[in-house]
Amino acid sequence: MFSALPTVPLLSLTGITKRFGNLVANSDVSLDVRPGEIHALLGENGAGKSTLMNIAAGYARADEGRIEVRGVPQEFRLPADAIAAGIGMVHQHFHLVDRLTVAENIVLNDEPGSAVLIDYKAANGEVRDLSERMGLPVDPKALVADISVAMQQRVEILKTLYRKADVLLLDEPTAVLAPAEVRDLLTVIRSLADSGVGIVLITHKLDEATLVADRLSVLRSGEIVARFDRGDASPAELAQEMVGREIHTVVARPHAVGATVLSVTDLEVDDSRGVPALRGVSFEVGESEIVGIAGVDGNGQAELVGVLAGLVTPNSGRATVAGEPLAFEHPRSIARQGVAHVPADRRKYGLVADFTLADNFALRGYYTAPFSKRGFLQRGVIDSLCAENMAHYGVKARGVDALAKELSGGNQQKLILAREMFTSPRLLLASQPTRGLDVGSIETVHGRLLKHRDEGCGILLVSFELDEILALSTRVVVLFEGRVVLDRPRSEVSREILGAAMTGAVAA
């Protein structure tokens, strides 16, 4: 199959340049995908990967450069043009209509039936057939709002396949998946490629990339800086190309655990639909301790952090911080008890996109000294504090008056971390702190977390990345269906034990 690669690529981008104001997001980038090939696109946050793919899929227009599909020059004015040319894109943030069913989402705009009546039976049938044929089983009648993230991703892929796309552009498809789900997805991608589809895969997980990709291209500051064939580069080499320097994986050194900071007892919580999400959870976090909460998404992690941060109301149970009862439902009181929170959804909760970095820095403490005096904001103090903390956390930005939405994901995350650690909290709730970040940023964030641990801060780390949990945690807690099924020191667990516990196979 590989020897028989046709010479004409399915999709080829040549000399693509894209500017946003003064910023050059893509500079003279060329990239092609051949039938049956998986082409990995790697790069730091903000390197221009998504921008390039958006251009290839008709969401944005290049300032310069050419797009060809099977050797035929194309001009994409709208995503519709790219779809017509057989190009399907799956965005990192899904573009699905929550309140429609899976089948409705997939057949949308190409519905079976007549022009005046949708044939729902046919739609559901076609979707079921397609999904089973492709190894991506879904329930056609389920509402998208009710299915898991992994399912939603299948729907996205099926959407493109339903439209007979033979080029798939996947933007960080594995960022939101649990390890087992990642394996499944990569298998499906491989078999799709083997059936002749060309795939561009954007990912920050370099081992995945080296494992599955036929070719790898590295984008740095909008330019292609390296291109490898399968087996020609190790993850470490790729990382170095991406960041332009050497990356060291952060490894936690043991550290003595102090007195108990957080104690959770018999916590019971319902999720937003009223279904029990936590069913009697108890555990403790000590000073200078990182407790990693492992588990597949949807097993109560979000609710656990929500309750501890004051955003979700528990049904019953207790929690204390340094012996004091936690002020449920009062985010501000909880913050005053010394609890900081890096939320999983940074765009929704962590930042105000239209605010300046300085204002975002003041978001939590704006009402009190040193940010405010007698109710009046101290602008100068806020600005200088923000600037100094940004520098120390390595936040790259135009200045303190840049808008938060201008920052890349990694820099946004570092800004949030800087803000949350500003008050020197006793306890940090870190939820998915490195989701969507590049290796360089992950290194920085991990380094920070360990430093804070060493300084005495207790950290509750929620992550779907087993590697992250294993690298940082002092103790590991596994949540399964709202229950603690495992709670052991790091030294007593392995990848295998955790993997088994996460599927509910081991009792605590």
Binding site: P331, L363, G380, V381, M390, G394, R398, G399, F422, S424
Partner: protein, 430 residues
């Protein structure tokens, strides 16, 4: 691409930095312009490229919009068969703006300073309540709330204020009316805020419904033989607000200039300071930009919703106070029914002024000039068309405000402004 001084790598010390003794004054900031509570995202990258919107550019744009509005309004005038230049000229004169000409030595234009001053006073008397109505929409807008209830808040405030004032009488009656109007307006707004906060009720609808309820209540109270109607004259009008208790007169040139404008100026200053300098303003802006983030940050979002609608209502109530104790001196049931344009006026002023203190001040002046000036149109234009014309002009202006990306769409003004030698303000770390 990125400012070099920001390319600092993470250093040795990760401890958070606490304030230095001498806090550095940061670069001036422009507030995010979340008009109507919906984050604006102009389709052009121009605004984003430089990071912040150039003030001169904004000002130029607003002025250009006004010019376009005048041209469109001129078409209306021409279509009705009149001369737009003459009409606009009289409109300006009617607003008293020709007083400027009278100051030219020798007064070559032959302006009657008395009359021009009187007209200007009339304009200023309208300006005050319009500022207050503008604030009543602007503050909620900043919090992402749309207050269409200015009409109800205005009247509920006015009614409570006037009745309190009359009851208390000459000793402190005016102060009582002032406080009563604030309370009345605030209660009326806070109800909508509370329904929003507690029941998730859409404030656009609730404020409209509350408007009607206040209107019919007011109409009943001051209706024929109503409980608050004038018992002596038997007319469906309130007892006149006593002469000695009215808002103080500042100046008089035929037309009286009363102290309402001072009330409005204080209010707009309070609003400005509140929004840009205080923690309260910060939390309001956060609420308006990202509700979830406000909740996450521990801001009392429900209380803020009630408070913001309440304060917005208080501004509207104050407008009622100023108008009744300054200009009309009475409340008429039929006037309460026919006053639906109050809410629109406030919204239009807030939108034109981009919900900022200075903006509201200027926008209110423009609308005051339109309203007051059109009242004094004479000769060149039939009086029965005058008030409709000023309404049409206001509508066109609001349309164009909404379409503030019109020029970037047409590719015009931004290009022009970009070619002007204006230094872009660049912020930098350190």
């Amino acid at each position: 691409m990125r400012h070099p001084s920001c390319l600092l790598r993470a250093g040795r010390d990760t401890r958070p930095i606490h304030p230095r003794r001498r806090a550095v004054r940061g670069p001036r900031r422009s507030r995010p312009t979340a008009v109507g509570g919906v984050a604006r995202d102009p389709r052009s990258g121009h605004d984003r490229g430089g990071g912040r919107v150039n003030r001169l550019q904004v000002a130029l744009r607003q002025v250009a919009l006004l010019v376009v509005a005048l041209v469109v309004g001129g078409l209306f005038i021409v279509l009705a068969g009149y001369n737009p230049f003459a009409v606009y000229g009289e409109l300006l004169a009617g607003a008293g703006f020709n007083l400027v000409l009278a100051i030219i030595p020798g007064n070559p234009a032959g302006i009657s300073t008395n009359i021009a001053a009187g007209n200007l006073f009339a304009t200023i008397n309208v300006w005050g309540p319009l500022i207050l109505l503008g604030l009543s929409a602007a503050l909620p807008f900043r919090a992402g709330l749309f207050n269409v209830g200015s009409q109800g808040q205005y009247w509920f405030g006015a009614i409570l204020g006037v009745q309190l004032g009359i009851t208390i009488g000459s000793n402190g009656g005016l102060l009582a009316a002032f406080l009563g109007a604030i309370v009345g307006g605030a209660v009326c707004g806070a109800i909508a805020g509370a329904l929003k906060a507690l029941r998730g009720a859409n404030e656009v609808v609730t404020t409209i419904m509350i408007n009607w309820l206040v209107v019919y209540t007011g109409h009943f109270l001051y209706g024929y033989a109503g409980p608050f109607a004038n018992p002596v004259t038997q007319q469906p009008v309130s007892v006149p607000f006593p002469e000695g208790m009215r808002l103080p007169e500042l100046l008089k040139s035929g037309i009286t200039l009363h102290a309402g404008i001072l009330v409005a100026l204080v209010a707009v200053a309070v609003f400005g300071v509140l929004m840009s300098r205080t923690g309260f303003g910060f939390s309001v802006r956060t609420l308006g930009s990202n509700r979830h983030a406000a909740h996450y940050a521990g801001m009392p979002t429900k209380r803020l919703t009630v408070l913001v609608m309440g304060i917005g209502g208080a501004f509207a109530g104050l407008a009622g106070f100023v108008e009744i104790t300054g200009t009309t001196g009475q409340i008429t049931g039929s006037n309460i029914v026919g006053s639906s344009s109050f809410a629109f006026a406030g919204i239009a002023v807030a939108l034109l002024g981009r919900n900022s203190a200075v903006g509201v001040l200027l926008a209110a002046l423009l609308f005051a000039a339109l309203q007051s000036g059109s009242r004094f149109l004479s000769g060149s234009f039939p009086p029965e068309l005058a008030s409709s014309l000023s309404g049409v002009l206001q509508a066109v202006i609001v349309f164009l405000i909404g379409a503030n990306s019109l020029f970037s769409y047409l590719g015009g003004l931004n290009g022009i402004a970009a070619r002007l030698p204006i230094r872009k303000t660049q912020g930098a770390v350190e």
